[in-house]
Amino acid sequence: MTRVASLGARARRLPLVGFALLYTVVTGGPLLWVASMSLRTTAEIFKDPYGFPSPAHWEKFADAWFKSNYHSYFWNSTIVVVCAVALVTVIGAMAAHCLARYAFRGNRLVRFLILSGLILPPQLLILALFQILLDIDLYNTLTGLIIVYVATHIAVTVYILEGFFAQIPQDLFDAARMDGYSDFEIFWRVTVPIGAPAIFTAVTLNFIVLWNEFLFAVVLLTDDDKRTLPLGIMHFTGSHQLDVGMAATGLVIAILPVVLLYAFFSETMIKGMTAGAVR
């Protein structure tokens, strides 16, 4: 009896398993395909687009890295993203602490002003930002892009941090004040350590989003040696349009760091990326 029931249950799960398998192939298949192409020459690919990479042409990675500007794209992206994330985290955390902790006139107004940044489309900013950066001589500079990234990500940073900071029990702050902590010490020695998980989440989210950012970068940067990675990938594949094998190698170089990080920190990255939507 139980045996029949469990067989029936298994049969009913068959579509479920089939669907899960199919979707896994749809997600993973294209990635494996591009990985195999990255190790094959264009001639091999055109002969058989789906063959196994044998012999594997590992030297293509060295070629792509050294014969193009990939190292400079990587370096530019690293500088821009690290600086922007560090700055936005510090000033965002200070603002979030202030909004969550202190009762003052205008608190709600400031909060509304900052959080309304969450729904601003980049298209509404980009044309004027182009003019403004030209006016102050920061157009086509990494500094200009960093400032723009910080400004456009203050809203989401404050949104994530303020929600978490507000839940820290008030007693802790009362006690700290009684012990004679200054306002800045309270921020640094109470809010920051206790709010560390939320800060970490905000850092992860901003890091992923900015590492992939395209629209602001494509409008605000023009020189090849200033390009960030997304612009660089596009430039590289554009200039290797007929050499698909090399373009695939370039694409894998861009994907690899993300996938490697994801393999080790998958939970952190999933949590960070969905921080604004999961509550």
């Binding site: 993973g28 789906y50 000033i91 202030c98 400031v110 298209q123 990938i233 969905t274």
Partner: protein
């Protein structure tokens, strides 16, 4: 000392002097005001002006808006494309994300691993996803046509991105490939937060899985569904990166969206006028805002479910 009022001001941790407040808020507010608030205001100002090279500004009144609404067929083409893309992509995002989440929630084998694998594309940049999918849609050696040939459906082979009738839907497929995992994770988190007794009770009542989904699970997830619908809607109305990388708006404006058109009018067409594209951006922002207000109003759960 009784109650908050009795606490001396200097010790009350809820209060701070103006100097302290300014010190905490000023860095964020200055950057935000200079590089977010001011650009928005300047865009609104630009929308009513013509801005020629070397920043010669001429007042144009409502001329930009009247041209836009009554004499610009490309703008209307872009509006229709964006509306189609938004409607279909939002629906797939929400329904597909929920189905994937249910699939894992029903304990498909290896569910914890699949959850991580299915989320991978979300972390990639649109540039990478776009280039990958241009190859998938390649007529001669792309995966799409190869799969059709493999299944014996060679007659359905298409030049997916090369013809106006399929280009928009091909970009949409790439978009969903990248983004479905995001909605899946959000739904999965909501599902795990549901009270297990309710689902168990439905099980005992011998409720079929479809009935369970429609009458038990969906109503309890209403808040998540509304949030994700609004979030998806805003994202799709602004879609730019993927279209720019895959088709650049072509062929024959079949994938032109409002965002790509703004970019083209500002930086690609040699019209040298930032006023007109600003007017498009302003109008579109007002429309997005109106729709979001309408949706949150209509879809807000009237009676909150108690559980």
């Amino acid at each position: 000392m009784k109650g908050r009022d009795a606490v001396p001001r200097a010790i009350d941790a809820r209060r701070a002097s103006l100097g302290i407040l300014v010190a905490f808020l000023a860095p964020a507010l200055v950057v935000y005001a200079g590089f977010t608030v001011y650009p928005v205001l300047r865009t609104f100002y630009n929308a009513f002006h013509t801005i020629t090279p070397r920043s010669v500004v001429e007042f144009a009144g409502l001329a930009n808006f009247t041209t836009l609404l009554f004499a610009d067929p490309v703008f209307w083409k872009a509006v229709i494309n964006t509306a189609l893309f938004t409607a279909v992509a939002t629906a797939i995002d929400v329904v597909g994300g929920l189905l994937l989440a249910l699939c894992l929630f029903a304990r498909a084998p290896l569910a914890p691993l699949l959850r991580v694998v299915w989320f991978t594309p979300v972390l990639m940049s649109y540039v990478v996803v776009g280039i990958l999918w241009v190859w998938i849609f390649d007529y001669d050696w792309g995966l799409a046509n190869a799969t059709l040939r493999f299944l014996g459906l060679g007659a359905w082979e298409q030049s997916w991105l090369g013809q106006p009738s399929t280009a928009l839907w091909s970009v949409l497929a790439a978009h969903e490939w990248k983004w479905l995992g995001f909605n899946m994770i959000v739904f999965l988190a909501a599902l795990h937060a549901l009270p297990s007794e309710v689902l168990g009770a439905a099980e005992l009542d011998n409720c079929g899985w479809f009935a369970k989904l429609v009458y038990v699970i969906a109503p309890m997830l209403k808040r998540t569904i509304v949030n994700l619908t609004v979030l998806s809607f805003i994202g799709k109305m602004m879609v730019f990166d993927l279209i720019w990388v895959m088709t650049g708006g072509g062929p024959l404006w079949s994938t032109e969206t409002v965002s790509t058109y703004v970019y083209k009018r500002a930086f690609e067409w040699n019209t040298f006028d930032l006023g007109y594209p600003s007017a498009i951006a302003v109008l579109w922002f007002v429309i997005i805002l109106a729709f979001v207000a309408l949706m949150t109003r209509l879809l807000r759960p009237r009676d909150r479910l108690e559980f």
